[in-house]
Symmetry: C2
């Protein structure tokens, strides 16, 4: 399936009521909103929806661990056979990489059972990705055909029991033995045990193992080597000791396990040596001299996984919100004046506020995810790209993964509660989805740590430009320029900056739904919090006390800056996307959705705006009322808004939506 | 087991390092904090900890639905045989009710598998409670012995598919048939099907069924009748049609199901007729003339369930926070200056802020729960009590149930994330606990609806006093008095009011840890939001538009008032409890814990305080820094604080705490 070359356009973009996949019928507005939200990928996504094998989409929640694993493996084998698995991973060394196909496929898989999605991510994204991105021609020719056909299932053995987020401190050793031209892979301590590794407990017969490469007694930092795990009967090979994590909070279909290595030997060529290896003479060679830079280059190839997981989280949130909103459009409770049969749940303001601002946020995140996929395609798709592009991609992938997966957790939970007792029944899917998505906040990088990466990256930009100025100089200079320097990484920021400029002098003379004012508030939240953090960092560096404690005290400020920046980037993406939508009803609705997203984001941190004299207390009070008003205005469009989120009703699989 | 007459004191209150249950060893401070938090129930709770059968405490998460149900039933049978089941339910008509024992037992059961806890709640609290509180002597004599011995298992069939929170609109009919002196129980529509009923899918052979009582063609509102469900072989009796909800988000050990009635007849005496029934002549008789009042009186007897569920949620939160905090005191990650082996997780400020403010809130909720139990004992324990006492109890039980169960959900989730990937493994208990506690936010009253009840009750007080004054009069009068009228329901409010008075004139001249300032802020948050809501309500009532929409627009204001009031009541409870703690280290630590609770609560709504000119923007900024400082100060006491929460380490059952 060639995703980048659509064979035919689909009906989803038609301006009239249409049939989507199967018997899906959409309102005209719903179809338009869907096309807008799908953005540049609208045709691909519509075609994938039309061809995705939707029977057997969801796993029976009563299956136990063993049966879940079997079902998941079989489902993925079937999907892979139909083009929805290895898409994006080259089958041979000569085929190009297709990051666009990889992400869109992952997102499409996220419309169904998430164990299948994550198992595909382990096999194709992580294991296949390591071989593709860190290996060289021999690895590609030898392993990629079997990886993409799923003859060879493998794990991605990075995390160790003792070392989760701190990859640089991994203890596993990969020691070169010159006499036999082999590597010896070893777990020197219990803490070095590889942990939580997908495909390790049962299905995997090989793993891409991260460890400290030691050549001639000298350590060259973290590298990756392919290590066979099991024989054809599924028994651990000599020196391999796998364990099974058994039952988990969710994702029961993924066989996460542990691996310990006891002096396991593999041939020299099993090292994935694109960025560093040992030549025939037994000498360490690498195209990257600086060990630190090499480390981050190798980790940087993992960025696709974060784009995928964030996107998958976003889709899961849409599924949850779709179920709860469709339910709230059917369910009545408590009679009221003029409503003897009871009030529709979605007519209660309190209920609207549980769902509509989250739908607005789903749209905003969707536009940002589109932008991120484009950035990924630019960097990994064969275009010319700069190191700056790569770093910008990594920053936004980290931030958007954290923001989307946190959002998935809290919005599916809200959807569950909004469906009351029915929401708790597994047949209505919300609890299963919530369980599966829980760990999205941790894997592919703990969200809190990822947000630190975002801020670190912003500070690097900042220091580069202003590191030499004194404190007063910094304040003056940054007031003029630093905001732009932060935003320049994305073209989206230009539009936002222009909007902000237009109202900079008299911000409170605008209405609360004036996009220029939103732009200014989002920009100021990022800029001021970043500047003050930089100053506090500088002071901390100069202080004589415990250095760790000095920086430690800034921990929540670091988190705030990352959130502020990501919110601004998301708004940028939304504003840019709006420009591409033709004037008319769908544009009008999307403008309101954008305002609801922006105002809710400002509202959530309105205390900060007041504390920094960016918003008066009177204006702050008015924001809540304006959010209520937007909910009222969007309430009649609730069904089209749900349709626009792109999850076909028949795929939701929630019993409470059956008639 | 007689809980109200402790047989011996325990070692938990001793001022030196002590042995708790089994081999538990506590720090001196931990033991003191535990005694303080256990409050007036310290001896009972210590004895229960020492005697609670702690082997087989937690269910194997791999058990399927059927095996989970079997395990749960057997465990509850075993616990009941050892005095930890029906405690608090009288075994005969003559034995007194023991609400204190009922709640303390429920809380103790919450230290283990929550399916067992909830099954006990269904059997003893709801089914047994309905028979006890709504039935009369014949019901007590006939059924209580078998209910308390678990020979007769029963359901509490209130909720219907079409009617969750709206009990008054239940459709099931209970029609009197004078010829045969029977009642005919019937489900006239699919929406009338009883749903989510514990013990209905499998174990229950009887149910207490809520329905509209019809006598001589006239409806007398909701009443409750006992209806046999199954024969000795477990088959549905004629006219009964039970269904099974199967797999749920959690609580797999509880057999929730549906029940439909097809013209089922039961003898006249099966109606629980304490508040209304049919006499031998076929005439409806009730000690309460007003139908509405009768309805609320009958529902009022359910208050104990809310006290239990809130308390159980509070205990679950403590278990989750105990696991995550103990883990953070062992786990190191990322080396730093002066910390070559890595930094202890709990030394990171960001990590402290995930856990310590929640521990502080756990303490605050614990003191409030103690107060609530006392109020329950006062009303249901045989003392003289007024209708005012009953209403105050209902209000606080509703609010504290909502606040504690929401807190349980979010704090166990935070604990899960704070343990990273390990937190997701079922063997570490957090995900199982999180799944089980999810529905606590919905059953025994949807939390959002419960919070509406709190505000409604406050407005009733308010209207009673000031309903006749004009708008200006109201403002003036309430400025002087209304706050007190709201608070007078609890003696705790008096202390808080005095503290607030002392700084009313110059609130910002206090420090941020000055209890008087906390008291003033909490009081003003409640008082002002309540007053402005009352004014908006009055305006809504006078407006000519759609009456529903006028009130609907106030939905989030209603929620805010309830939260503000509950926070104030919780602070009152904490402040009162502090008075009873001897000066010394534990008192000092608890004062800081109280400040951390209070400041975090103010911080969470600091936008409101600024919007209403109660806190300046400068002072608001300082609150965040003060919270950080309190975390630093409490960090060295993290272990004693965890011990104080009262969950013996050996009971946590988390593999990641094994050495």
């Amino acid at each position: 399936m060639t995703l980048t070359h659509p064979e035919r356009s689909t009906t989803a973009s038609a301006p009239t009521t249409t049939d989507g996949p199967g018997t899906e019928r959409l309102t005209t507005l719903g179809a338009q909103l869907r096309t807008a939200l799908d953005g540049d990928f609208a045709e691909d996504r519509a075609r994938m929806r039309a061809t995705f094998p939707a029977e057997d989409l969801l796993r029976d929640p009563e299956l136990d661990v063993e049966a879940s694993r079997e079902w998941t493996l079989n489902r993925l084998l079937s999907l892979n056979g139909q083009g929805f698995g290895s898409a994006g991973v080259p089958t041979t060394a000569n085929a190009g990489s297709d990051p666009r196909g990889a992400v869109l496929t992952f997102e499409m898989l996220s419309h169904g059972d998430l164990s299948v999605t994550i198992k595909s991510g382990v096999q194709f994204g992580l294991f296949g990705g390591a071989v593709t991105n860190l290996g060289t021609e021999w690895h590609h020719e030898t392993f990629l055909p079997d990886i993409t056909s799923m003859k060879l299932l493998g794990g991605f053995a990075m995390t160790e029991l003792g070392h989760g987020s701190d990859v640089a401190s991994l203890e596993t050793t990969i020691t070169y033995l010159p006499d036999s031209e082999e590597f010896e892979v070893h777990s020197p301590t219990p803490g070095a045990t590889k942990a939580y590794i997908g495909n390790a407990a049962k299905d995997g017969t090989m793993a891409a193992v991260f460890g400290q490469l030691v050549v001639g007694g000298r350590s060259h930092g973290v590298h990756v080597v392919l290590v066979p795990l099991r024989d054809d009967d599924g028994n651990d090979l000599p020196g391999i000791n796998t364990g099974d994590h058994g039952h988990k909070g969710g994702l029961l279909g993924v066989d996460n396990g542990t691996i310990r290595f006891d002096h396991v030997r593999v041939p020299r060529r099993m090292l994935l040596n694109r960025y560093g290896g040992v030549d025939e003479s037994g000498t360490y060679v690498s195209p990257i001299d600086n060990q630190n830079r090499r480390f981050f280059t190798m980790l940087g190839t993992l960025v696709r996984g974060r784009v995928c997981v964030g996107g998958g989280g976003g889709i899961a949130a849409r599924r949850g919100l779709s179920i709860a909103t469709r339910h709230a459009l059917r369910r009545r409770q408590f009679p009221a004046a003029g409503r003897p049969d009871g009030v529709l749940l979605l007519d209660y303001l309190v209920h609207q506020k549980r769902l509509l601002p989250r739908i607005a946020r789903s749209y905003a995140l969707g536009f940002a995810q589109n932008l991120l996929i484009e950035a990924l395609v630019h960097v990994q798709g064969g275009d010319e790209s700069t190191e700056e592009d790569q770093r910008s991609l990594e920053t936004h992938a980290a931030g958007l993964k954290a923001v989307q997966t946190w959002f998935a957790n809290e919005s599916i939970q809200e959807a569950r509660e909004a469906c009351g007792g029915a929401g708790y029944m597994s047949e209505n899917q919300l609890v299963e989805m919530r369980r599966d998505v829980d760990i999205f906040a941790t894997f592919e990088g703990d969200n809190t740590v990822l947000m630190q990466l975002v801020t670190k990256s912003l500070l690097t930009d900042y220091r580069k430009e202003w590191g030499e100025l004194d404190r007063t100089g910094v304040v003056q200079a940054t007031a003029r320029v630093a905001g732009e320097s932060v935003l320049e990484a994305t073209s989206a920021g230009i539009m936002l900056g222009r909007l902000a400029d237009a109202v900079r002098r008299r911000p409170e003379e605008t209405t609360l739904v004036d996009r220029r004012w939103h732009a200014l508030m989002f920009e100021q939240r990022t800029r001021h919090s970043l500047e003050s953090l930089a100053m506090r960092m500088r002071a901390a560096a100069k202080s004589k006390g415990d250095e760790f404690e000095s920086f430690n005290a800034l921990g929540d400020h670091v988190q705030f800056v990352a959130r502020a920046y990501m919110e601004e980037w998301i708004l940028s993406a939304f504003v840019d996307a709006l420009e591409t939508v033709e004037p008319g009803e769908s544009r009008d609705v999307l403008e309101r959705v954008c305002s609801l997203y922006a105002l809710q984001s400002i509202h959530d941190t309105r205390a900060w705006f007041m504390e920094h004299n960016r918003i008066s207390s009177g204006r702050s009070k008015a924001i809540g009322a304006q959010i209520n008003e937007l909910c009222r205005e969007l309430r009649p469009h609730a069904l089209p808004l749900v349709e626009g989120m792109g999850i076909p009703e028949g795929w939701l699989g929630a019993a409470l939506l059956d008639d």
